[in-house]
């Protein structure tokens, strides 16, 4: 569905990607994790056709994104970190913007708006940042596009909204859709994504399905000093130490995305060795 081959991209003074390869399939929610400035947003913009690769190729749904053909644009939706919604009532958004998306479902949109508790009578200007973001997310989901790119979607959402967001996104995924969520707030994506891709310094540091991770790694609190010492990654906590160890039981453990992220960034080789074995 999305293929990135040998992507080279950079800004005037800074190279971001030097030969990035990535393949994203339909039916999955991908979590794109990484520190600020590592190229998450740049990658999403390249996928959406807002930036053009300097070298290499990107193929999304059989299109070259940079050409921005209408048939491509109507099957992809992007929720950017900093977004713009024209100042109009929600009804006008449906009337004037939705017809561009052939698979837009008004019932879905109304359901999301209700779930997010958005006052329908307000225009965008009368809404708070978080409310506007929820309108945009609802609209993007209701467009039912094959590709949905979200850049830091939970920024600006309150605690209740974050949990509603997870619920709504999980309910929207089907076999024909590919959802890519970029964030550095890893906790917000736990139990939502089914594939973790970590970017650092413009390259893929880690790329595994959640199933594979939870089958091969165990995330838990340990009080056993030997286990703590031998752990692939450890972090002192108020009660014992949070550790990542090899999952010897074979049962699926519960993913601690934040801990995994820290482990990959600080001690990536140890974690990678488990998956390479």
């Amino acid at each position: 569905m999305i293929q990135v081959q040998n992507l080279h991209f950079g800004y005037r003074r800074k190279k971001i990607f030097t030969g990035l390869n990535l393949k994203l399939e339909a039916g999955h929610i991908y979590g794109l994790l990484g520190k600020n400035g590592t190229g998450k947003s740049t990658l999403l913009k390249n996928m959406a056709g807002l930036l053009f690769p300097h070298e290499g190729a990107i193929n999304v749904l059989g299109f070259t994104p940079g050409k921005r053909q209408p048939a491509f644009l109507q099957d992809i939706f992007m929720v950017p970190e900093e977004f713009h919604l024209p100042d109009m009532p929600i009804e006008h958004l449906i009337k004037y913007h939705a017809p561009f998306y052939p698979k837009f479902n008004e019932d879905h949109f109304n359901r999301f708006i209700t779930e997010f508790d958005i006052p329908r009578s307000n225009t965008m200007q009368q809404m708070s940042y978080g409310q506007k973001k929820k309108v945009l997310i609802s609209f993007g989901l209701a467009c039912n596009t094959s590709v949905l790119l979200m850049d830091e979607p939970t920024n600006g959402l309150d605690i209740m909204s974050k949990s509603q967001f997870r619920k709504v996104i999980a309910g929207c995924l089907d076999e024909s859709k590919c959802i890519v969520i970029s964030t550095h707030q890893v906790k917000d994506l736990e139990s939502l994504i089914d594939r973790v891709t970590i970017i650092d310094e413009g390259r893929i540091l880690f790329d595994q399905t959640v199933d594979n991770i939870t089958r091969k790694l165990s995330f838990h609190i340990s009080y056993d000093s030997d286990e703590i010492k031998q752990a692939l990654f450890r972090e002192p906590s108020l009660r014992g130490s949070a550790v990542i160890t090899r999952n010897m039981q074979g049962d699926e453990s519960k993913l601690d995305l934040e801990l995994l992220y820290k482990a990959i960034v600080l001690n990536g080789n140890a974690i990678q060795s488990v998956f390479n074995a």
């Binding site: 053909q69 048939a71 644009l73 992809i76 992007m78 950017p80 713009h84 009337k95 004037y96």
Partner: protein, 276 residues
């Protein structure tokens, strides 16, 4: 579905553009009307005897058209200079051609029609007031009354065969298209940057024609643009070198009618390669 142009999609886009920008457009027109009222009121104060002479009305129309038209054209792609708005603009599922044509419809065609309508509406009202002011002034001065000023056609000169106003209008559309291109080309301060760039290009062309071309052309100058070159020859007096009729007709046609469309084509390609 056509990837380059689809009529139904274009109409959808035109409707969307209007809905998102109508408030700004209507406010701009109201501001233009307000400025015209202020200008004419100022003229009535400084020249109560003949505040709205025909020449003044024509100058007002064209000066206003150039200033507001170019300002408006330089703002037509304003969204592209603001990251979030640019994302919204570029990801809206319409082709670059449809987006450009919409900009031309609103920024060139509808602007011209709306500006002319606002001008005439204000001109009509202010003319009534101006005639009243002038007659009161002459009465106070104990001078004979003058015939009242009438609404004039700003597109046709009173002198038969004089095409100056027609040419000014053509120049306006070309200049406005330069500002439209500047609007998509530059990221910030489009109006000023286009003005300065346009001036630099114009001065370079003048320099090129007079100094560079002039250095290998015979002593003389263009008598009529694109058609006749006049040579100063001390022995034979003036010698006119005229291009063949068909060639000069083509060149004249291109200069008159093709400059603006050519700039729109450049704007189209610039819009296609725009990044955020």
């Amino acid at each position: 579905m056509n990837a380059v142009f689809d009529l139904k999609r274009w109409f959808l886009y035109i409707g969307k553009h209007w809905n998102e920008n109508k408030r700004r457009y209507l406010l701009s027109l109201a501001a233009v009307g307000g400025l015209l009222v202020l200008w004419y009121s100022f003229l009535m104060i400084v020249n109560p005897e003949n505040p709205m002479g025909q020449r003044m009305q024509i100058v007002t129309y064209y000066a206003g058209l150039f200033i507001t038209g170019c300002l408006f054209a330089s703002m037509i792609f304003n969204d592209l200079s603001d990251g979030p708005k640019a994302i919204h603009y570029l990801l809206t599922p319409a082709s670059a051609l449809e987006k450009l044509l919409t900009a031309i419809v609103y920024g060139v065609i509808l602007f011209f029609i709306s500006y002319t309508l606002v001008f005439y509406a204000i001109d009509f009202i202010m003319l009534k007031i101006s005639n009243g002011v002038a007659s009161t002034y002459l009465e106070r001065q104990h001078r004979a009354p003058k015939p009242p000023q009438e609404l004039l056609n700003v597109f046709i000169s009173e002198v038969p065969g004089d095409e100056l106003l027609y040419y000014i209008l053509l120049i306006f559309f070309a200049v406005q298209s330069i500002f439209l291109l500047g609007s998509v080309y530059f990221v910030k301060n489009q109006y000023i940057k286009t003005l300065v760039s346009g001036l630099v290009v114009f001065l370079f062309m003048v320099f090129f024609i007079h100094k560079v071309m002039g250095s290998f052309m015979p002593d003389g100058g263009f008598f009529e643009p694109f058609t006749v070159y006049r040579i100063w020859n001390s022995g034979q007096g003036e010698v006119m070198v005229q291009l063949p009729e068909w060639l000069s007709s083509i060149l004249l046609f291109l200069a008159k009618y093709m400059l603006a469309p050519c700039l729109w084509v450049v704007a189209y390609f610039r819009l296609k390669e725009k990044e955020v």
